[in-house]
Subunit: 371 residues, 2 copies
């Protein structure tokens, strides 16, 4: 069993589960920090382990371009190349191809694109994307998918979902033919904001019996009510005994809602990227550290926080480091923001076990409204 549910909230669909991988367990609901290049930006592996990171999200597109598959393969996979011993999920790179690469062209066979780094032309098939991630020895492999920006027309979204389903089938067949015991292949649901398309996409994936199911193509600017409707309906149609991953959802307010609807795994650049640009999360709302009012503020970012940054440094010092563009600013801010996220996820899991998730969620939302 790759996934086991160990607690269910009585008042919602929230659940606590364990994903088993060749590199250890991940207790869900879990937050995956983004380490596209094989590192969480501004932190060492030791620092993210100290923060309680259970699983790293890395990126097939970026690592395929540089350093390239051959080097990672020579090292025996991504864990060994980047010296990370815990689980890794690799994104297929689809998102980066469609959002970063020029001259992208999709056919049933695959996608051609030019590298955003140097313009080199590539053609990737869904089979090739599986092979790359098998070579990476990613614990959780995401298949190549095709998604469109919001808003897109029904017809184009229908075509994209159809290709995504076709590619998922090709991916699964190829993955099966490679007989990779220690890795998992999850599926990605597409279909934009049209439930009719989402339903078909889910139906196609369920036939393939994937190891987990990701909801892709959301969090792209569509209205939140529509997004949550899609999430809710999708979860209703997904099996209980498989993990569910909502791709790219980043704000705690939204994450709490999605957990309530039964989502197990999240990833987003928000805590780490915002840290670098000086927006810090606190139990009473966000603060922008460059604000002049913090210039002589001796308080920590968050008086309720027990991270290294809050236990040692004042807002005034953090503002000074930010203003001087010190690398240490990015480090200390990232430690805080990532701790903030991971600590909330720990409390989410605790509250589900105690059947108090809704209270926890409501209390937290009230606090976050802010200072």
């Amino acid at each position: 069993m790759n996934f086991k549910i160990i607690a269910k909230d009585e008042n919602s669909r929230a659940r606590v589960g364990i994903i088993n991988t060749a590199h250890g367990k991940v207790e869900t609901p879990a937050f995956m920090p983004v380490g596209s290049q094989g590192t969480v930006k501004a932190l060492t592996h030791r620092q993210i382990l100290d923060l309680g990171v259970q699983i790293l999200l890395s990126n097939t597109y970026h690592l395929f371009l540089r350093p390239g598959v051959e080097i990672i393969k020579k090292f025996g996979g991504l864990h060994s190349f980047i010296s990370w011993k815990k689980p890794i999920l690799t994104d297929s790179g689809g998102f980066q191809i469609y959002s970063l690469s020029p001259l992208t062209k999709v056919s049933e066979k695959g996608v051609s694109f030019n590298s955003h780094l140097d313009g080199t032309k590539f053609f990737l098939t869904p089979e090739k994307v599986i092979e790359i991630q098998v070579d990476f020895r990613s614990d959780i492999i995401m298949p190549l998918d095709y998604f469109l920006p919001y808003p897109s027309s029904f017809d184009s979204l229908k075509e994209a979902a159809k290709i995504t389903s076709l590619w998922a089938k090709k991916s699964k067949n190829h993955f099966n033919s490679l007989s990779v015991e220690s890795q998992q292949l999850w599926g990605i649901i597409q279909g934009g904001t049209y439930w009719e398309l989402r339903e078909k996409s889910i139906h196609d994936l369920l036939e393939l019996n994937m190891d987990g199911y990701a909801i892709g193509g959301l969090c792209l600017g569509e209205p939140k009510s529509l997004m949550f409707e899609i999430v809710e309906n999708s979860v209703s149609n997904l099996p209980e005994d498989k993990p569910r991953y909502l791709m790219g959802m980043g704000y705690i307010e939204d994450i709490l809602q999605a957990v309530e609807l039964g989502i197990d795994i999240f990833d987003c650049v928000i805590p780490t990227r915002n840290a670098r640009t000086g927006t810090l999360f606190t139990s009473k709302g966000r603060i922008v550290i460059k604000n002049a009012k913090y210039k002589d503020d001796s308080k920590p970012i968050d008086e309720n926080c027990d991270c290294y940054t809050c236990q040692n440094f004042s807002r005034a010092y953090l503002r000074h480091l930010y203003e001087r563009e010190e690398i240490t600013s990015a480090i200390l801010n990232t430690i805080h923001n990532l701790h903030f996220y991971l600590d909330i996820f720990k409390k989410i899991r605790q509250s589900i076990r105690l059947n108090s998730f809704k209270k926890f969620k409501n209390d937290l939302l009230n606090n976050l409204k802010g200072e």
Copy 2:
């Protein structure tokens, strides 16, 4: 006693000493990493403590401009503002005024200059520079000095050394008038490459009985033989029972030579700056990590190194992080380079205690010639 010699090498002037400060002891010979803005670039305080840093060099000019004396004073000093509990030496800012600021003008009263940040005009007297550092509660205060680039004429160097001596006297008098028990004031020897001027500068400072003596105005591109001649002669004229600081000397090869001549304290940006630009020190010479030959090199930077970086990461991964301009590259490289320096200083102290400094020095120099 602010300084106590605890071991002397029988075959050279090298010695091991203890500098006592209000924030603890510094065992010499010691290397001070540079933390101009109140942080060593790319590392947290916890990381530099783990590396064994004993004392931090911070900078009056930078901190005077931003965040300004009032804020640091409000925090009760620099230690409290930056949350660093060990000793701090603050440079007077002279070096930055002469090398960074436009429109610098020196008179016997002080120096006027424009901020390199926003052009604001300032006038600093030697007395004011003492007051700032007293407010910072720096453990070791450096007085305002006046130095010129290499090469400069005898007459201009003579004038600069004369002003430096005058300012040292004003600094000492002002420092005494403030009755600061817990802080030390050291003197800075100037005089360029002319021994006649250096001798006079030393003579003037000795009359003031400073707590330590720094050799300034060297390591500016003058021939090494001339530089070491000045260092050797200077040390011969300095008292045994006061610490000696050679400002800005950075390469291990030179440091070993200077330790042999009786220097106790060093500072330089080289290990940290080179780390950020990808030049890494090893027991067999330097390596430039971006070099293509490291792209699939599974060895650590230095197989003889027990730092976190070398114990965990390959040259190939470090090259990848450098090439991708990841902040983690700066962090891991800085950990290594700073460890390399501090480890050598630890071994320098051990070898002096064991009367084997010359052998240690020669073995190390032979190895450093390199790979």
